[in-house]
Amino acid sequence: MSPAFLNFIEIVLNGLMAGIMYSLVALGFVLIFKASGIFNFAQGVMALFAALTLVGLQTGQVPFSHLINAIFGTELHHWGSGLHTVLAILFTMALMILLAWVIERVVLKHLVNQEPIILFMATIGLAYFLEGFGDLMWGSDVKVLDVGLPSGGSLWWEDVTRTWVTEGSEYWGMYIDRLDVAATSVAVILVVGLSAFSQYTATGRALRAVADDHQAAMSVGISLRTIWVIVWSIAGFVALVAGIMWGSKSGVQFSLSLIALKALPVLILGGFTSIPGAIVGGLIIGVGEKLAEAYVGPLVGGAIENWFAYMLALAFLLVRPQGLFGDRIIERI
């Protein structure tokens, strides 16, 4: 194979991996939208908050130390060497469940039956709140997150691919990030797990019932509010996974919450209501934007990825206004 062709494959592969990373964020949106029709603007901040909490527990930071120190004049920083990673993840998860419960109690309960845009706005309030709360709790420094995931390019893959090239041409092998491979595996497990959960458990069936029709679900005795807590907890879990993946790469800091923007084109492409849609959408966006950046970017000066992803999604929407896998829009008078 010629190096140019191998380069093409390399870009496609890396695009697929990047796409999976976007899908991880998009999944959280889909889950909540499906079950409650809420476009959860706070998903990115939830990822940040989960990652911050995880690092805080792992390194043994004292929560709100800054605030406590400012009020009482103490000098608190750490309460010890921190928790084991697994324990920290479990505790973080517990906190995310608590968060889901509080959100349901304080916000959602009062906004049942409101228009989608109002609920959307409420999640924005939530996002603001969580942003300030997370900073207040754990401080706004950059934190290093290490949960033992592999990182760096895979040498083995480089060696393997180097033999594929036609004799005599210069080629250094194909690059693939081991962190991306790990993320992909996790995403696959997550999707399979979520699908199995919604297919084979009673709660899962209840979830799907609520997604189909709120009123019908309530009339057969499904508690809407319990379902919401469960859904938000699962979304919190997905946020935690996304936070770990993205945070391992760049360190945990405020910018982590901006990854939500990367998920938006994935969402519209895949449809707001479909879990496979989020995955397929992510893959298409990932490959599309990487190819565009590599082959079109140099012609116009680069950095076109961001808008290209949206343009791509827009082009798909013009053909299918409900996204690739979205529910068909049926309009009646």
């Binding site: 380069n7 000098e75 950059v142 290490d146 680069g302 950095a303 990825e305």
Partner: protein, 430 residues
């Protein structure tokens, strides 16, 4: 109803915002401790405030006049920066150091009209080095274009003086700040015969796969970086991932702090960045800082940042401002200086190694002397390298000079354009 009340209460609060100034020297600190660039803003703001606190605690201020730092949170946002500027300028502000190129651009015309100097050390508008056009703006000791040239000169040193035919890429933050060095690097490429490619990264820069795949394909001999915030750490991580030789990867002085290299772990070992000042905590000044400020519980932050690169940058900026204030007192013969005196002080500022040693920072910064025409300092910089096992930066070169001849021509050109656009007649001085 509640809204109305809020508005009224708000109006009152805004009206009276901030207590009236006493006869202190006021140094506003337009800091950012939140937002996407907060992690970088925190150590800088701590260092800036701590140095003034030290002067107050140890020396009783400058020339017997106490110093006051008014901190205002900008979150790296220009609109909030303007709000901060307007709310602090009436308090007798002597000099502004906003630590943001965007806010600096914002303040250049305003501060000039209000007669308050702006000192943007190592950022802001490079052509402000031309004091004939930019009377109130200072950017010593070095600016971005110096940085680009210093980096290239360092590469020349490493390569034994000849970089003809080499490939150098620039990974830059796709904003005004990141685009600054491109012009200079293009000129330098012509002069020294290297091939130059510029690769933009959009804010915030969490995803840089395309950029680094491109670098991996192109195999440039050196990569320069003009990044800020999360972009830095991701770039360093990606460079380590593609096993780019880290000692051939050189960041500007804003891409070389602990925040940027720590997330990449061992992979960041050997990464280089430019330095405007010394690194580490082994300066006599820091002993005083610990004694009078941090251990006394008077620090602006929790003291954990002391000695970090950006903390030192804050201290250095404060040193420059304090020295200028001292100079201003000397020139005007008054204790209570005004912002106009401060401007004279900045313009007459001379930093010598003897003076730096006296301050307790021997060989910390470059020597320079500002003049009426030269507001840009000497344009010297060092190169520092990250040692991942010891988790510290080491200076690996002496002061490296930039290609002043070439830069001066660019400065003249850009400042002339500014002068023409804004009807400024350049001052006549040398």
């Amino acid at each position: 109803m509640s809204i109305k009340k809020l508005v009224i209460a708000g109006a009152m609060a805004i009206m009276m915002g901030g207590a009236p100034a006493l006869a202190d020297m006021v140094f506003p600190s337009l800091s950012y401790r939140t937002g996407p660039y907060g992690p970088n803003g925190i150590p800088f703001a701590d260092g800036y405030a701590d140095y003034f606190t030290l002067l107050n605690e140890r020396d009783g201020g400058i020339g017997g006049v106490k110093l006051k730092v008014i901190e205002c949170e900008t979150a790296y946002n220009t609109e909030k920066g303007v709000e901060c500027y307007e709310s602090t300028k009436g308090e007798g502000a002597l000099v502004y150091q906003p630590l943001s190129t965007g806010i600096t651009y914002q303040l250049i015309p305003k501060a000039t009209a209000d007669g308050i100097p702006v000192l943007s050390s190592g950022y802001g508008r490079t052509s402000a080095a031309n004091g004939k056009v930019f009377e109130w703006i200072f950017n010593f000791p070095a600016a971005y274009w110096d940085g680009a040239s210093i980096a290239v000169n360092h590469i020349m040193d490493v390569e034994g003086g000849d970089i003809n035919g080499k490939k150098i890429s620039l990974v830059y933050h796709n904003s005004a700040y990141g685009k600054e060095p491109i012009r200079t690097l293009e000129e330098l490429a012509k002069k020294h015969g290297f091939t130059f490619t510029a690769i933009p990264v959009d804010h915030p820069g969490q995803e840089q796969k395309s950029q680094w795949l491109q670098i991996r394909r192109d195999r440039p001999d050196y990569v320069l970086m003009w990044g800020w915030g999360v972009m830095n750490s991701v770039a360093i991580q990606e460079a380590a991932n593609i096993r780019f030789p880290m000692d051939h990867f050189i960041g500007v002085w804003w891409s070389g702090s602990e925040n940027d290299v720590l997330p990449a772990g061992d992979g960041a070992n050997g990464y280089k960045s430019l330095a405007l000042h010394g690194t580490g905590i082994d300066y006599p000044l820091y002993a005083d800082m610990k004694k009078y400020v941090i251990d006394a519980g008077k620090g602006a932050g929790d003291g954990s940042h002391a000695g970090e690169v950006l903390y030192s940058r804050g201290v250095y900026s404060a040193v420059l401002a304090a020295e200028a204030a001292r100079k201003a007192q000397e020139i005007s013969g008054k204790k209570d200086i005004t912002s106009a005196d401060m401007r004279d002080g900045l313009e007459a500022l001379e930093i010598t190694s003897a003076r730096l040693a006296e301050i307790g920072l021997p060989d910390f910064g470059a020597e320079f002397k500002a003049t009426c025409a030269n507001h840009g300092g000497s344009g010297l910089g060092k190169v520092q390298q990250w040692d991942a096992s010891a988790k510290k930066w080491n200076l690996i070169t002496d002061w490296i000079a930039s290609d002043r001849e070439l830069i001066q021509a660019l400065v003249e050109e850009d400042s002339a354009a500014y002068a023409a656009e804004n009807n400024i007649t350049p001052r006549d001085c040398n």
